[in-house]
Structures are given as C-alpha cells and as structure tokens.
C-alpha cells in the first residue's frame, strides 16, 4: 500500500468511527440516564465543544501536512470539516428545540440581542455554504480557485467559535483561552511566508534579550 492508500483506506475509516464516538457516547448516556442533573446543558456543551474541537482539527491539517511533509493528510480534511458541521448543527438544534421550543420569534430575539449568540450563530451560518460545497461535483462546478476562496470563510468560523465560547463563560476563562490560543497558533501558519519569516526573525532576536532579562533578574 502506498502512503496515500494507508491514509484513505485505513486512517480515514478509522477516523470516521472515532469522530462519531462523542455523539454515540451522548446517545448512550442519554439512554443510561447519566447525562447529569441538567442533560440539556450537557448536550449543548458537548456538541458545542466537539464542533469547536473538530473545526480546530480541520484547521490543523494544513500545518500537519507542512510539518510532516505528508500532503496526503489533506484527504482527511473534508471529513473533519463535515463532522465539525454535524456537531455545530446538533448544537444549534439543541438550542433551538430544547431552549426555545422552536419558537422562531424567541430565537431571533435572542440571537440579535446577545453578542455571544450572534457570534456562535454567524459561525454556524458560515459553515453552511462550506458544508454545502463539499461534494466533488460542486467543487468542480465552482472551479478550484473560487472554491478555495469561499472556503477561507472557515477562518471566520473558527474565530466566531472561540469568541462565542470565551464570551459565555462566567468567570473561569481558562478553557476558552486555551482554545483561543490554539486557534491563533494555527492562524500563524496562514500568514504569508514573508511575514512569517520576519516573525521568526523577531522571536530569534527576542531570545537573547530574554536571556539578558533573566540574568539581570538573577543579579538582583
């Protein structure tokens, strides 16, 4: 088997079932009545977290290709992206049905009034055209360049997703800040090579300065 075949024939099916696992676990916990005192909250949080995690995983694939030099990893990207959309869809459905009883007026009022809901909802809306244009035939129809330009929207989805999470937390922002950092780290890879090399120069120059700083501290 070639490397491409290992990825498409073995890794991809394995990942397919692996990414289904969080959902399967939620369903199992639902039947076993172990979703906790507030099952709706558990479902909302879990589907939201997995949508965000898989979006970040999707954004990590290009860097992964670049770092490992194995470009075939890109063959997994459509699936991780679509899974992220699936979890986002379930997340939104939980909110619409169980929080608002599908009352469109109430949902609309809530969405326009609350910044963190606006952010999450826009990120979800932006995912829809991406999911809808993920079929080979549509990609061909659009043409590679236009498809690529459209799919840059995923960066906005990522930003919306992490800010949505950060904004809804009451006081303990540790976990959303970790996701934000991860997202920004992945975005650094998207900077044009010229800027990236400048940045690495900068950090290279910063290192001796930090060392000097530490020395000064020790003297004191």
């Amino acid at each position: 088997m070639t490397r491409a075949q290992i990825i498409t024939r073995m890794l991809k099916p394995a990942l397919f079932f692996l990414l289904l696992l969080p959902l399967a676990l939620l369903v199992q916990r639902g039947f076993a009545d172990t979703l906790g005192a507030n099952p709706v909250e558990t479902i909302t949080h879990q589907t939201g977290l997995w949508a965000l995690r898989l979006l970040l995983l999707t954004l990590a694939i290009t860097p992964l290709c670049r770092v490992t030099g194995i470009n075939d990893f890109v063959r997994l990207r459509r699936m991780t992206g679509l899974y992220s959309f699936l979890y986002a869809l379930l997340h939104f459905a939980t909110y619409a049905v169980l929080d608002h009883g599908l009352d469109i007026g109430a949902i609309f009022a809530d969405v326009v009034k609350r910044p963190y809901v606006i952010l999450g909802f826009s990120a979800f809306l932006l995912l829809i055209p991406l999911a809808a244009t993920s079929h080979n035939r549509i990609i061909r129809l659009l043409g590679g360049r236009r498809w690529k330009r459209l799919h840059r929207l995923v960066y906005l989805c990522g930003l919306g997703g992490v800010l949505h999470y950060l904004w809804l937390v009451k006081a303990d922002t540790l976990s959303p800040l970790l996701y934000l950092t991860l997202f920004l780290g992945l975005m650094l890879f998207r900077l044009p090579p010229r800027i990236r090399s400048k940045l690495s120069d900068l950090s290279g120059r910063m290192l001796p300065m930090q060392r000097r700083h530490r020395l000064l501290k020790e003297e004191r």
């Binding site: 005192a37 507030n38 709706v40 809530d110 006081a171 303990d172």
Partner: protein
C-alpha cells in the same frame, strides 16, 4: 367472652417520618456502607468517600413544617447534591461534589461583628442552640437560568440576627465564606476574589422568608451544598445564598459582594429574580427546572412577589437589578 384490646403500636415503633421520607436513601446508604466496608478493606479511596458522604449526614428528626413551603415536586436529592456552583471546590458544576468529600465542616465557629451589641465568636453549636429547626421547601433560581425545588432545614435569618442586637447604624449585613485553600482547593486559583462575600439590606435580612440552613432533605447539608451553615434567600438569584458562612458583619455601608465585584454590569447588589431584566448575555425570562427538558416561565421575585415586593416599592428595579 374474650374482649381483646386493639393492638396498639408503641410510639417507639413508629418509623420517624424523616427516616421514612429518606427510605430510598437509607437503602442506598446501607448498600454504600456494604461497599464502603468492603472497599475500606480493599483500600479504594473513591468508594470510601461516597461511603463517608452517605454515613455522616445526620438526620434532623422532629423538624417543624413551615407554612412558607411550596407544594411543588421536589428536585431529586442526587441532582441537588451533584449539580451546583460552589467555586471554592472548582468551577464545573460537578466539581463541588467531587472535591468537597474530604472537607470537614467541624469544628466551626461564626464571627459576628460590626454594628451590634453582642459581637463575638460563636461556636456553631452555641450559634444554633436557641433555634427550632423548620423544614422549608423553597424554589431556587440560579442566575444561569436553571432552577430547583429544595427542602431546606433551618430557621429565619432574622431570628438569629436579632440575638446579636444590631444597632441603629446597622443598615446592611455582610456574610463571608470560609477562606482556607487547603480545605477548599478551588481557592488555590484566583477565579474570584476570596473569600466569597455576600450581603443584604437589613430589611431584606429581617424578612421572614430569608433563612439560615443547616440541612436539606431532612439531614445535614452535604459539604458541596454549603455545610455547615448557609444562607437561603429564595427570591434572589442563587449566588446570593452564600455557603459555609464563617462571619456575619453588620455594616453601615453597602457591603462588597463577590459577583457584583467581578462584573457589576451583570450581577447587581440586589440580584432579585426578575424575568424583565435580562442578564447582559442571556435572557432571564425562562428557566429550566432541573428534571425537565423544556423551559418554563420565570416568576417575578421567583414567585415570592406577594411576600417581598413591598421591600422594593418605589425602586426602579431595572436600575437596582
């Protein structure tokens, strides 16, 4: 002719109502006891913890039923004791139960100070002794838009405060939670300014609905619910009902309250349950009663408007939220 007297049941044979009401838990505890003993031998710490929890909750027999009680369906004890906010033991709602098991709420004393005639440090037993314990079934509405119905055991806060003879300078009363990061591991991270503080206006504190609780569901408070002494103010959002109280202070100025300090635009000093004033980030019109899938309407003052609305007459509740 043989005249048989009807068989009488000796009072000593009647099952105490508290035990009767807790029969399921009794069965569970007995089971846990068995597992606990077995695992103590095997040395499994987590089972020992749950055994300790089951075995050490002392029941309060003979408590008086309060006329303030709601007739609504009680929240499951397991839910009420495994899902709550008590940042002193961690910020997730499963953390308090998980991390409060090693906490020992004894010995315990309460400092009473500020504008009163009888300040001092009171042993918990002395603090509680004069009071007759009542059971009060109250709705609890969290600022996060979920709610419960909980049978508390305790007494009116006002009855306790009167004993310390607050002076005319006492306009407010402030409460402090224990600050001891060794015993309350959540305090090792500075997610809030420790110790947790809360406060009430004097007339709110003297309102008969405001209570100090030492127990729930017929037995003493589980650690994660604020043992050994907590406040319960049913017409305000849950975070006002401060847990594990070590200090009560009569003040002239409005005291600093923890959540108000964190984000004054979202958590007001009063924090009365009010469906017409939304939290900046979410609606307060509805709430999810724990145990239900769909939400229900939130009531003004959490359904206690008839009793407490007069405390706020003439006040703009949108401004003083």
């Amino acid at each position: 002719m043989l005249i048989k007297k009807p068989e009488t049941i000796k009072p000593s044979e009647i099952t105490d109502q508290a035990i009767y009401l807790n029969r399921r838990q009794f069965i569970r505890d007995s089971g846990l006891l068995g597992i606990g003993v077995a695992s103590a031998l095997a040395g499994l710490p987590w089972v020992k913890n749950s055994w300790a929890e089951g075995a050490t909750r002392q029941p309060f027999p003979g408590r008086i039923q309060s006329p303030f009680s709601s007739a609504e369906k009680l929240t499951d004890f397991d839910d009420a004791s495994s899902y709550n906010n008590f940042y002193e033991f961690g910020t997730r709602k499963s953390d308090p139960k998980e991390h409060a098991q090693a906490f020992v709420p004894r010995p315990w004393s309460v400092v009473v100070d500020g504008a009163c005639e009888k300040p001092g440090t009171y042993d918990l037993e002395d603090f509680l002794r004069p009071h007759t314990l009542e059971e009060r079934i109250y709705r609890l509405r969290c600022v996060e838009a979920w709610s419960m119905v909980i049978p508390w055991v305790g007494f009116s806060l006002g009855d306790a405060l009167k004993r310390f003879q607050p002076t005319s300078r006492a306009k407010y009363v402030a409460f402090y939670t224990l600050h001891d990061p060794e015993r309350m591991p959540g305090q090792k991270r500075r997610v809030l300014e420790w110790p947790y503080r809360e406060g009430l206006r004097m007339d709110e504190a003297m309102h008969p609905l405001a209570m100090l609780a030492v127990g729930m569901y017929g037995a003493e408070l589980p650690n994660q619910n604020g043992a050994p002494l907590r406040l319960v103010v049913p017409w305000k959002y849950g975070f006002k009902s401060i847990k594990s109280i070590v200090r009560i202070s009569f003040t002239e100025e409005q005291p600093v309250c923890t959540w108000n300090q964190v984000q004054p635009s979202e958590y007001g000093f009063y924090s009365n349950v009010n469906p017409n004033v939304d939290h900046l980030r979410w609606s307060q019109k509805k709430e999810r009663r724990i145990g239900n899938w769909l939400k229900q309407e939130t009531l003004m003052f959490n359904g206690y408007a008839d009793q407490v609305a007069s405390l706020y007459s003439g006040m703009d509740l949108k401004k003083y939220f």
